[in-house]
């Protein structure tokens, strides 16, 4: 079965699928109607983009889809032919490698060209170097939302001047957006976007909490698809509606004791972005009564609660609080709690060549989790989009050996 045809556990996941399809299709409609389109990198404060009536498009998500459709390799090779090293992020190479493609050969007719470019330093450094390349290539205006690196955890908290700096960056983004729409941002629309974002996060956290149940109602493979609106459509009504339906259905399953995997015996967590080109790898464990019950990619990368009583500060804090901003010790502490709350038997660490911010300190976490709470981890080398960075046969045999060790 292909990624698209696979049967989902939850009815509401099909609602997510519709949102996903409409999202790409609408981008072209916007372009035709003359509504500005912005290419945004992951973790750009997207609520502001929506509140200003600009359509945010995420090339990284598009690259992930290209990988899931097994089309990534040729795109990567093309970008490498233009001088971009194979060591750089494969989202970047896939996206660049589509430059000369006939849009008709691409899913959803490709990505429309942006009117503006928005990126951030919040989570990684490839993004802003990538956007610089795009800005050069197309001569399109660019705005970078700078963000302090925080190393949060223990005594390290977000400091007032760091929040202030970030708020200035957010307000700079508003000015940039207003310049390109020719309209002032509607404050009510901004506040509404924040409220919708906060509500989406509240529902999302509830969903994540429900996955602590035994058996686990829904597995990683399905949830890394369902997280899509949390990345791209925060601050909009359909996201809230979708998460509400998802929450209701999952809650019902938990209350009636239904699990995604019959006879669940082993519970795993995935660390890092999944290998989009081989999602079947994640569900392969289910044949042995194992399930990926949780993953940091959906819990700590996107979304977050916002203190609406102090909108700008609350918004800044939400944006700054993200996995790549956590110190090694903080990541370890989170996983220790997670291992206990989610009744985990093991961790699978995807050592992702293409995402260094999420691969940082994986060995430290693997070792300390075993030492402090006795939860073993498997380290698998791979790549989130470039299939050449991942050896399925080797990974599968490592995973099977790991499951055997866990008693599956």
């Amino acid at each position: 079965m292909t990624t698209q045809e696979r049967k989902r556990t939850l009815r509401s996941s099909y609602m997510g699928r519709e949102i996903f399809k409409n999202y790409w299709a609408e981008a072209h409609a916007c372009k035709e109607q003359g509504r500005p389109v912005a290419w945004c990198s992951g973790n750009v404060p997207v609520e502001l983009v929506h509140a200003n009536g600009v359509y945010p498009l995420y090339p990284e998500s598009y690259s992930a889809m290209i990988a899931a459709q097994k089309m990534a390799r040729e795109k990567c090779e093309r970008a490498e032919g233009w001088g971009y090293s194979m060591d750089t992020c494969s989202y970047f190479r896939v996206s660049l490698g589509m430059e000369d493609d006939d849009p008709k050969t691409l899913p959803f007719g490709g990505l429309p060209r942006p009117d503006i470019l928005i990126t951030t330093r919040l989570i990684c450094m490839t993004q802003y170097k990538w956007w610089q390349v795009l800005s050069d290539m197309w001569d399109v205006p660019i705005y970078v939302v700078d963000a302090p690196y925080l190393g949060l955890g223990g005594q390290a908290q977000i400091q007032r001047h760091q929040e202030d700096y970030f708020i200035d960056q957010l307000k700079g983004l508003v000015a940039f957006l207003e310049e390109h729409t020719g309209k002032r941002m509607d404050q009510d629309r901004f506040l509404e976007a924040l409220a919708l974002s906060d509500r989406a996060a509240e529902l999302w956290y509830e969903i994540m909490g429900l996955r602590k149940s035994r058996p686990c109602p829904v597995a990683t493979r399905e949830m890394v698809g369902n997280v899509f609106p949390l990345v791209t459509l925060l601050g909009t009504r359909p996201t809230v509606d979708f998460f509400q339906a998802l929450r209701d259905e999952i809650k019902e399953m938990v209350e009636s004791g239904q699990g995604a995997v019959p006879d669940e015996r082993i519970r795993l967590a995935l660390d890092n972005i999944p290998p989009w080109h081989d999602l079947a790898f994640l569900s392969s464990v289910e044949e042995r009564g194992a399930i990926f019950a949780i993953e940091n990619y959906t819990c700590y990368a996107w979304g977050g609660r916002i203190d609406l009583s102090d909108p700008w500060r609350g918004y800044a804090r939400k944006c700054l609080d993200t996995w790549p901003a956590y110190s090694i010790e903080e990541r370890i502490q989170i996983y220790i709690r997670q291992a206990q709350e989610y009744h985990l038997d093991g961790y699978v660490f995807h050592a992702n060549r293409s995402c260094k911010p999420l691969s940082t300190a994986q060995q430290e976490m693997q070792r300390v989790l075993l030492e402090r709470v006795g939860v073993p981890g498997l380290l698998l080398e791979g790549d989130h989009a470039d299939p050449r960075g991942f050896s399925p046969a080797h990974a599968q045999s490592q995973l099977e050996a790991f499951l055997e060790m866990l008693g599956a």
Binding site: G83, S85, Y128, K129, W130, D146, Y149, G151, D168, K356
Partner: protein, 376 residues
């Protein structure tokens, strides 16, 4: 080779001994720092010797359980040296935030062999942002506060001013040394200049400046009298591989200028003194020629490289960076395109800390032949 240059070489080769002896002499404290964004003037003003943590270049097998092999060899080498106890004499370790590679090296260092004072200083990435200066100044103030608390005394403004003078003087002297390389027949080779610059990162700046003054006098007297060969520029990131520069220069070329964080970028910008000594120091790091991680929109770096290339009348460029260094890797095609449009030959080499540079010989020879054809 003159005595001063000999001393530079000794210090570079035996940097740990220098630091340990310095400590023994005056009982001062020694701090290691990574990258070029830690305002060293503040440490110096506190009576601390700041030493840059650079490559150990020795094969090691201790980092595999801590840092992936997809991280740059330099960051792995840095962590390896800490785990092997090479830097046990340090009282503090600091880094000015740049890339994820060095960030992990620093954090794992802190995690396994914590120094008495350990500090990651945030440096804005959008240096051109109207708010970057005030944000960085605040970061620098907090860093200074933390340092003062650890020291148990304050660092008065006069000491900051004095440290600034010491640092600016050293920067001017290194500039003078570079200036000499503009000549048709530069009496100072690229490897000598590199040794002098690297030594400055390890030595007490006043001592280094005294040696620099001697060195500049000595250079004035002697001419190496050899055909300088092709004039080359080195462009890239962390590269403290003197052997590599020696190899290039032994094959009929002279490295006359560089844009490396281990070369000109380290000292190019002076502190422009003003009413607030701390703000003046902080501003210097915002205005210095940027690392690719500090360049997000317009290509200031390219402009700077182009100016140096033309001022020093280079004829070709070798583009070097550490393997896996994504910021440099992504900048590379833009830099290559710039040179290509001007018919300037370039050679691109990826470095590993323990690969013998000799393996580059054939490629460099072929490149030099090409440069020769281009300029004839």
């Amino acid at each position: 080779m003159s005595r001063s240059f000999q001393r530079f070489r000794e210090v570079v080769e035996d940097r740990h001994r220098y630091a340990v002896e310095w400590k023994a002499r005056g009982g001062g404290r020694v701090f290691g720092y990574m990258c070029t964004y830690v305002p060293e003037e503040i440490l110096y003003a506190a009576g601390i010797l700041p030493v840059r943590i650079l490559g150990g270049h020795e094969p090691q097998d201790v980092v595999e359980p801590h840092i992936h092999s997809m991280y740059c060899p330099f960051s792995r080498d840095v962590l390896g040296q800490a785990l092997k106890g090479r830097y046990d004499y340090l009282d503090g370790v600091t880094v000015g935030h740049t890339c994820i590679h060095i960030q992990q090296a620093f954090e794992s260092w802190q995690f396994h062999t914590p120094a008495s004072f350990s500090y990651l200083l945030y440096v804005p990435a959008c240096l051109h942002s109207p708010h970057a200066r005030s944000c960085f100044l605040e970061e620098v103030k907090i860093f200074k506060d933390a340092l003062e608390e650890w020291l148990g005394h304050t660092i008065p403004p006069e000491k900051l001013e004095r440290a600034t003078e010491v640092y600016n003087r050293n920067r001017r002297l290194l500039h003078q040394l570079y200036e000499i390389r503009r000549q048709d027949d530069p009496p100072v080779s690229g490897s000598m200049a590199m040794e002098a610059t690297l030594a400055s990162m390890f030595m007490d700046k006043e001592e280094h400046s005294r040696l620099m003054e001697d060195a500049l006098r000595e250079i004035g007297r002697e001419s190496n009298g050899r055909f300088p060969g092709m004039r080359l520029m080195l462009v890239g990131g962390e590269n403290d591989d003197i052997e590599f520069v020696r190899l290039v220069e032994s094959l009929g070329a002279a490295v006359v200028i560089d844009d490396l964080c281990t070369g000109s970028r380290y000292f190019w910008q002076e502190v422009v003194t003003g009413a607030d000594p701390l703000a003046a120091i902080a501003d210097r790091y915002i205005d210095a020629p940027p690392c690719p991680t500090k360049e997000l929109e317009e290509r200031r770096r390219l402009e700077h490289i182009a100016k140096l290339f033309s001022d020093y009348r280079a004829q070709g460029a070798i583009l070097v960076h550490q393997k896996f260094c994504d910021p440099h890797q992504i900048d590379l095609p833009a830099i290559q395109a710039y040179f290509q449009e001007r018919h300037i030959p370039t050679l691109h080499l990826e470095f590993d800390m323990t690969t013998p540079v000799g393996q580059f010989r054939t490629r460099i020879e072929a490149f030099l032949e090409m440069v020769q054809l281009e300029i004839l």
